[in-house]
Symmetry: C2
Amino acid sequence: MAEKLGLVDDEYIPVGHYAGKVDAAAVLERLGPDAPQGKYVLITGINPTPLGEGKSTTAIGLSQALGAHLDRNVVCTARVPAMSTTFGIKGGAAGGGYAQIVPMDVFNLGLPDSHYASLATNLIAAQLDTRMYHESTQSDAALYRRLVPTVKGVRTFAPIMLKRLAKLGIDKTEPDELTPEEIRKFVRLDIDPHTISFMRVLDVNDRSLRKITINQSPTEKGRIREAEFAVTSASELCSAQVLCTSLGDLKEKIGNTVVAFSRSGDAVTVDDLGVTGAATLIMRDTVKPNLMQTIEGTPVLVSGSCFANISVGNSAVIADQVALKLVGNDGFVVTEAGFSEAIGAEKFFNIKCRVSGLQPSAVVLVATVRALKVHGGGPPVSPGRPLDDAYTSEALDLLEAGLTNLRDHIGNLTKYGVPVVVAINKFSTDTDAEVALVRDAAIAAGAVDAVCSEHHGKGGAGAVDLANAVIAATQEPSDFKHLYELDLPLKDKIEVIAREIYGADGVKYSTKATARLRDYERLGFGKLPVCIAKTQYAFSHRPADKGGKPSGYTFEISDVKSAIGAGFVVPIAGSVSLMPGLPTRPAIYDQDVYTGDDDTAGASNGMAIGDAIGLM
Amino acid sequence: MAEKLGLVDDEYIPVGHYAGKVDAAAVLERLGPDAPQGKYVLITGINPTPLGEGKSTTAIGLSQALGAHLDRNVVCTARVPAMSTTFGIKGGAAGGGYAQIVPMDVFNLGLPDSHYASLATNLIAAQLDTRMYHESTQSDAALYRRLVPTVKGVRTFAPIMLKRLAKLGIDKTEPDELTPEEIRKFVRLDIDPHTISFMRVLDVNDRSLRKITINQSPTEKGRIREAEFAVTSASELCSAQVLCTSLGDLKEKIGNTVVAFSRSGDAVTVDDLGVTGAATLIMRDTVKPNLMQTIEGTPVLVSGSCFANISVGNSAVIADQVALKLVGNDGFVVTEAGFSEAIGAEKFFNIKCRVSGLQPSAVVLVATVRALKVHGGGPPVSPGRPLDDAYTSEALDLLEAGLTNLRDHIGNLTKYGVPVVVAINKFSTDTDAEVALVRDAAIAAGAVDAVCSEHHGKGGAGAVDLANAVIAATQEPSDFKHLYELDLPLKDKIEVIAREIYGADGVKYSTKATARLRDYERLGFGKLPVCIAKTQYAFSHRPADKGGKPSGYTFEISDVKSAIGAGFVVPIAGSVSLMPGLPTRPAIYDQDVYTGDDDTAGASNGMAIGDAIGLM
């Protein structure tokens, strides 16, 4: 696979028999900045049902069609699945049916990236709390003596400390030259415990850790505080990794991560904690995407793991950059954005593409007849429950009523100047009349084409029509543009998205949200893009809203968080859960290994997990 | 390196350029049970100072001498270093000077085993608390309907559930045949929250998590409880991995791990939680030791990470088993036991060798003139402080006074029937007269030889004398025996160790310890070996006791924990800290990566860390 991609020498680093790391920096350096690039294709979707509508399988199936059936150079870029998901309800995210990434157990559990992000995050968090402990128990002089010790008669600042000195405006490099006041400013981060935003993480759905009290050992001298754990994909370091363009850029993003505020209102960063180098050291291999393959032997670069609510929900920039050069002039890179068009594609175009400088050539909007019927007013669907007859037999009226959802997503996508192809992810019970209805509506709404795809049941062969439509679309003129300029104040950026994409008349902010936005503007973070966290089930912030864009409503922002290091501000509509829970019967029960000496195992030295459609 | 060891085909699985996994099961199967084995050499030490006396460097240096200078087949087996240690005071544990495992950054941060143990442990802990949540909010019928759902018209127990049914004495395999009472017993683990002994873990020194309160989110409905995090090396799963002999054995050990007791006093296991398969799946690659090398190109198998207090502090059984067959008849396997002779070697002989069935051929007792002077009454030494003159100039009286420590350790070791070689880890300031004094005392006390070793400064060349002494010792008759039989009650086993090894007159138990021991006997765990947690700085439970075995004292057990799945009971003398803290200036400050676009990095794409002597 590495040879097929044209990797040479040490650009491929094997990690076990079924996956390896690609030294993206080495490849990009060898190929040079002017190397020709392939066509960049985004997969997004309409507002889904809780069953998922098949974005991941479409991305995989389309790349199988392009690579294994139409003989095109192709790379599919995918996110590293959250291991927590593998043990929860869904039981994995390797695609499904005949559109899969293999081996499934390596994809779901064997890639190391999430371990690194967890460890680095928790190291930063430990250093944060421990620094507060040491500041609370030591004098300025004692802190300084320990932070800048005399070793073999010499006293020097660690390189990372020079950054803090520069930030404080202290233009000295000799430790003995600092005045007591400068020493005080240097050694005291003076963190306000109520402002700590940096969370510990686990890649496990552990609801017990949503809200906890820490520092309760007598050794911590009563410094108790409330804290929370998130799942690893919700970590700021995962966001930084997804959006970084090099190891140096990752280090800068980690160092700039704001963990809390000081009592005087300054931002306290990972640089201030001195953990930047160590955290980057832990994370260093995450800038090397994992090379795997689909069930039909086409390459997949797996890199980046971040949620689509608190973060951008896209795979890593660096993987797309290297993939586009590896496939060359006539090739294709297929990537997916998590959540629906109004969230995933918006963040892809306005945040990810801005960071990467890459120009998408086409966007595929995945729709299912089932989801459109739900938008038309059909009965609710939920995992594990049998489907209503409306979804397994022809219901043209219901479908017609729901097409407004499809039309409004197409309308949104055309604002970016990129050709839109609608992929109808076809189920066996969908009728020809239903498919024709969707197709006509899509084209009438501005899609350049709309085709059925049956990759789940037929693999790449089932997605050849879609692939041909995508190839044709990428020959169309593309005039890619962002939706807003970064110069706008944060509130104005939010308004543009709310009006243009969500169909709102305006935006209402909670007092807290307004205060936070003011803080961010004051601290110089106002030029960052905004990454709005909201439900994926509707255009609005109300998950129950079905159909197209509602009108005459005000979009509501309840809170604002940020990932300053990664480079965005996160306005939150509603509430965002960063730590899921396990169900009564998690997928755990079906997972086992073959050990050769028992007969209870469900799979051959691998995972026994069911098919899963869609990726969070 | 893999070829040099005689590995064929897929027995070596590369993981990056500098390390790989050895499929121990495949090697053992190919070589067969009757393949000749090499000599098995244990490295242990006298009671150390807080600076460490060089057990790890001696193990590495000795293997370099045997392999690179005396042309013997040799494998050094080492523990996977705790990453937490890398970021703390010591900054790594790859040996030091010219007796090192390389590359240091891969050894300290690049081996995946600890990530797997952390994830598997935290998954079990999450399932434990979540199961309690679901039991508290659902009826028997609802729990049963969800745990054993009807899928496509069929209702079946997951294989792991059959184990619980068997444990409950319910001889049925059809879900619909259970009576309501049987259903109740099946679905209700009925965990008593006060008895939960299974801890969450991080491989980070995070003192804030020593004692916490969890379940404080309103979603958890007031089910708050106290909990604690330990470092990963203190986890029961790490102990299970160290002592397992195959993947199947690991699975059994994980399944048998007792996480809590039910309100009626029964042991609740990982099997009962249904997580055995998933946890083993996560841990599956840990039964494949990591192959690395020393600075002189001799092979090292790195596997197993467990503390020497709460666990056995040895490297993995499976690595020693495969290494002994790989080196063959004339070869050597050198391994180290953490903490001093009275702890590390005792657990090696009585727990690890019992599990593995392996027979040690010689034991090397590492001593330093410095530590013996401390035992003779010299002033205290501590990391980061300059050494007193007593340690850098000749002080024969002080040394003589401290030799009792060496004599008593030799006396203990001779009880196992294995020849003892004393290795004097020589510092440049040690005088010839001092070395001679130690040597004479060692031989008089029963060592077969006592030689200087200068591996730290000279690499394998500095350990050739030691290697020759070890080769000679392994030709001596060895009559290995355990110190106690497993049939003895737990208290009797503790007494044997306290009297024979610690020199106590007897043992006193706290009320809590007595109650716990009674519980373990009642539940059928009385035949397990005991793994006593105590200070490594003295023979007794009092760290300040210097010199040899104190007499006329009672050894005190304050508490008893266990690792039932791994297979031992842990009587605790004093208090055991399972979560260290970070110092004011952790090694973090000196760690960095080379990114090519800054000049603040301290090392070339690796770690900038100081030498570290000794391994916890």
